[in-house]
């Protein structure tokens, strides 16, 4: 059976897909507002969902005299139930950000210079359609690469597929959760999706490996996390840094960076050696247990102590604590998983521990998604691209997602012209300069392009390199495709609808894509006149009306999150080749990789250097919220965490501005040090997203520094092409002493 089981089948079955349905007529639009209060003033509340990050929390926008005066959580939203984080609350400051892109612009200066002239939408779209057609004639449609991110990118993806290019890549895969999706899918037959179906609130023990929930804020995840703590769940935090979560933990394991697989192997060793794993569960659902047991026999806690610098006793103690709590152990699979280039194997190891504890598909562990079957507009078939993807997804990197692609693969192909020339980029909602390492290469690649188009809301640095800039309306001004979310205990559909008209001369993404399609003769791929019609088509089979959604924002359905609730309609319990949990991965073996995870030592920092670690702050979303006036006021810049003892050796005082220089001589902007005992001596830490280089971002410009700027080296995961970024080392330069 496994011989017929191809890589493509695996990928197809490991994602949850919707089914097609017929087109339904749009309902008559009624006003979706309801009365509410802001302070002591009356307002109208309109339900929509948030896009300050990608979690899509439910929002009630409070509108007074045509102005959004406040955003608050939508209590009817099934996922977030009225809760909203700092960024969500600050959304109005994006809407009313004076620095927003306001009109379509055509570049007049050199790339990067930031000189433009404003043009009309007709001119802009005609220009773009002409250039795309020219590229198609000269190099073929595949020469156009698409860099999307966000919910609205679906409209553009449709356009790109219709145009005939397979080359689309987003950092969400190869710079973020790709290894995790692949590692878990190899083991359980399906990845995790977003939001992560981790049953935190029901768990008795939560294990966070590098996850810094609390600093990394996704509203409903924080709610579940704190609910669990209140209910008495215990907490293990594995992190070189004393994170917010670590401060709440029962066990904090300050691990040596890059040695997580050793710890996970040792945990498995204890669980198996002491016979503490869920034998019934493994016997019923898993295959490959003998191979696993044999594999981990040598990886004792004592072995791991020398590698991880965590005392063997602590390793044993925590393993047994997990065994005590099983199966209600929520070992969080993490989200940003591209660390060291062996990340698929680390995710596999985490999946194996989860399996040994019987936590997959069980209460308090990882729960299962329940597919809801939305409709789809009737589209003509997409043309089959004449050439394979240029980034190596599916070929050079066999398990890379072909839906999400490899960003660096496309950048490489642009630079080398191999396997064929990439001459045009359309960047939509993604920040190719701030979110992808090796910035210098990205800039060089952009230099070689015939066409660079950026569709964005704010004038981030990449805008300066664009030939054509298309200003998109913010999420509060536009319709987007609805969020159809399976990986929640109660699957749901939630909509985004405009709460005010677009400001300036901005347009919603769907409109831009549809207009462009019309000009390219691809209008048939957008068989609706208004986004409401599109919405009606999608939600018709769900038995919920657009009127209901516009009034309430979301509708939830029954979920079957645990294994014992599954019905045949949900498909196989474990959609792997064997139909079982694959502790020993035949797929990896077949592709020539380790069938069981193995620890490979990471390179150590040279003398005088620290490993550069990075993470998130609760008030910022990567590099996209630093120009938000309210969030800027809360956190205007990042700081570099340096261990107190290391700082003493370097004669640093708290708050001093320093410059970091990496192993290749790349330097940071001046940045303040935060001297703290809360980080190991061998690494430094900073929050990602700062150090903006675009002068047009008046609040964010040159505040703090960018970690991406210091990433001139990456370790690529050979299994799925993920770019390990925690392999850069920095030393401290004191600008005052240098001068």
């Amino acid at each position: 059976m496994s011989s017929k089981w191809t890589r493509r089948d695996w990928i197809r079955r490991s994602t949850v897909a919707g089914t097609a349905a017929t087109v339904a007529a749009a309902e008559a639009a009624t006003s979706p507002g309801r009365p509410g209060w802001q302070g002591a003033s009356r307002v109208e509340q309109i339900a929509t969902n948030c896009e300050m990050c990608f979690w899509r929390c439910g929002v009630l926008a409070e509108v007074r005299e045509g102005k959004v005066v406040k955003l608050q959580g939508n209590p009817e939203h099934p996922l977030t139930e009225g809760r909203l984080c700092a960024r969500g609350n600050a959304g109005t400051q994006l809407l009313y950000d004076p620095d927003r892109l306001k009109r379509p612009m055509l570049r007049t200066g050199a790339r990067g210079e930031g000189k433009f002239r404003e043009i009309t939408w007709d001119q802009a779209l005609d220009f773009l359609a002409d250039r795309m057609t020219l590229l198609k004639q000269k190099y073929g449609p595949e020469s156009l690469a698409f860099f999307p991110h966000g919910v609205a990118s679906g409209f553009f993806s449709t356009l790109m597929k219709a145009f005939g290019t397979p080359n689309s890549a987003e950092p969400a895969f190869s710079q973020c959760r790709g290894p995790r999706e692949v590692g878990y899918a190899l083991t359980f037959g399906r990845g995790l999706g977003s939001p992560e179906p981790v049953d935190l609130e029901e768990s008795k023990l939560i294990v966070l490996i590098g996850s810094h929930i609390g600093e990394n804020v996704f509203t409903s995840q924080v709610t579940s996390f704190s609910t669990a703590l209140e209910r008495g769940a215990r907490l293990i935090v594995v992190d070189p840094r004393f994170s917010v979560a670590a401060a709440k933990a029962d066990w904090w394991l300050p691990i040596r960076p890059g040695t997580d697989i050793a710890l996970l192997l040792a945990w498995m060793n204890v669980l198996i050696a002491e016979n503490q794993y869920d034998r019934d569960y493994i016997a019923q659902y898993a295959q490959g247990m003998p191979e696993l047991a044999a594999h981990v026999r040598e990886f004792t806690p004592e072995w791991a102590e020398g590698i991880t610098e965590i005392p063997a006793a602590r390793i044993r103690e925590t393993a047994l604590a997990m065994a005590d709590a099983k199966p209600a152990v929520a070992l969080h699979p993490g989200r940003h998983a591209t660390w060291y280039g062996d990340d698929t194997q680390r995710s596999r190891a985490m999946a194996l521990v989860t399996a040994l504890l019987g936590a997959w598909g069980r209460k308090g562990g990882i729960f299962l998604p329940t597919a809801i079957h939305a409709g789809a507009p009737k589209l003509p078939p997409f043309p089959t691209p004449a050439r394979e993807r240029a980034d190596g997804a599916g070929t050079r990197y066999p398990l890379a997602s072909e839906e999400q692609g490899l960003t660096l693969g496309l950048i490489d192909a642009t630079l080398s012209g191999k396997p064929y020339p990439i001459k045009g980029w359309i960047v939509y909602g993604q920040n190719v300069l701030e979110s992808i390492p090796l910035q210098a290469r990205t800039r060089k690649a952009i230099d070689q392009l015939d066409l660079m188009v950026v569709v964005d809301v704010l004038p981030v640095d990449q805008v300066n390199y664009a030939d054509l800039v298309l200003p998109e309306a913010t999420y509060l001004e536009r319709y987007d495709a609805p969020a159809i979310v399976a990986s929640a205990k109660k699957p749901f559909v939630a909509i985004r609808q405009p709460v005010v008209d677009p400001l300036y001369d901005t347009r919603p993404g769907w409109w831009i894509a549809k207009q462009l399609a019309g000009r390219l003769g691809l209008g048939d791929y957008f068989p609706y006149d208004t986004p409401e019609q599109h919405l009606a088509t999608l939600v018709k089979p769900l038995g919920v009306t657009t009127g209901f959604l516009r009034a309430h924002g979301a509708a939830a359905f029954e979920g079957r999150p645990y294994l014992d609730q599954r019905t045949p309609a949900d498909g196989p319990l474990f959609p792997t080749a064997s139909g079982k949990i694959e502790l020993h991965s035949a797929m990896l073996q077949q592709l020539g990789f380790d069938a069981l995870p193995r620890y490979t030592p990471p390179a150590d920092p040279p003398l005088g250097y620290f490993r550069l670690l990075y993470g998130r702050a609760p008030v910022h979303s990567f590099a996209r919220s630093e120009n938000n006036a309210w969030l800027d006021a809360l956190m205007p810049e990042n700081q570099v965490w340096i261990n107190s003892e290391a700082a003493r050796d370097l004669h640093l005082e708290d708050g001093r501005r320093i410059v970091l220089e990496n192993q290749d001589g790349a330097r940071s902007l001046p940045v303040a040090v935060r001297i703290t005992p809360g980080i190991r001596r061998d690494c430094v830490y900073m929050v990602h997203g700062f150090g903006h280089r675009s002068r047009a971002l008046h609040l964010a410009y040159h505040k703090g520094t960018s970690d991406t700027q210091l990433m001139t080296r990456i370790d690529i995961d050979p299994i799925m092409g993920g770019t390990g970024m925690r392999v850069n080392f920095v030393r401290v330069l004191d600008p005052e002493r240098e001068a």
Partner: protein, 243 residues
């Protein structure tokens, strides 16, 4: 009578600042100012024995508020529900109360030129809504209610779970914001953000200790002189002045 209070579970709080921003937008607080703000204490100690944790700062609605006495005009006052609120119409923006608050919970709003601070969302509570920070709190860490009502969550947390308030032996003016959480973390948070002794700003001291006695003395002396004169007038009759 009621006694409004807030309980903040610091073990649940992750310091995400949702409360800060929700409050800012609910009350149109100018950028750079806040009625409530989450601070972070620590990490303190030596690896691996470290302590750290968030601390939520806001007006404590003290039972014996120092700010009310410092306010010359009565703009700051205590309501029947025990919360301390500011009547903006009466506030002249002198900032005496800002100096007087041991918790640094007050600020002068540079747009309105009035003092501002948390008022337990009085306008929302009046309409039966919860305070803006409470409903947005991603961690469900903030609780608001009436301490006198035995069935309220705050009352249970204060009287049964032993929620603590931020007081020192020097400053104990009956704050009505309570903190729950792991002892070591709460100890650190309260120690890091302990109240400072209330201050009466220099002009206030000058007023209370010098100007007021002097003015009263001057008026008193004048009054006394005139009383004697009046007495003379009565005793000797008015005729004496007619020459």
């Amino acid at each position: 009578m009621a006694r409004y209070a807030m309980v903040i579970d610091l073990q649940k709080c992750v310091g995400c600042q949702a409360c800060t921003v929700a409050c800012n937008s609910e009350w149109e607080v100018p950028v750079g100012y806040a009625r409530t703000h989450v601070h972070y204490a620590g990490p303190a100690g030596v690896i691996p024995h470290l302590v750290a944790g968030p601390y939520v700062a806001q007006c404590n609605h003290c039972s014996h508020p120092t700010c009310v006495r410092a306010c010359p005009t009565g703009a700051t006052y205590q309501t029947d529900q025990g919360s301390v609120v500011v009547n903006r119409d009466l506030c002249i923006g002198c900032g005496f109360c800002v100096e007087a608050c041991p918790y640094g919970a007050r600020f002068l709003d540079p747009v309105r030129n009035k003092v501002d601070k948390c008022d337990f969302c009085a306008a929302r509570v009046e309409k039966g809504l919860q305070p803006a920070c409470v409903i947005t709190c991603t961690a469900h860490a903030k609780f608001f209610g009436d301490l006198e009502d035995a069935s309220s969550s705050v009352s249970q947390m204060v009287y049964e779970k032993g929620a603590r308030r931020n007081e020192t032996p020097a400053v104990h003016i009956g704050p009505n914001v309570y903190y729950l959480g792991r002892k070591a973390n709460v100890d650190l948070a309260l120690a890091s953000f302990a109240p400072r002794p209330p201050r009466l700003a220099a002009p206030g001291r000058f007023w209370r200790d010098a100007v007021k006695p002097l003015v009263l003395a001057a008026i008193g002396a004048t009054f006394l002189g005139q009383a004697i004169a009046f007495f003379n007038q009565l005793v000797k009759g008015e005729g004496q002045f007619d020459d």
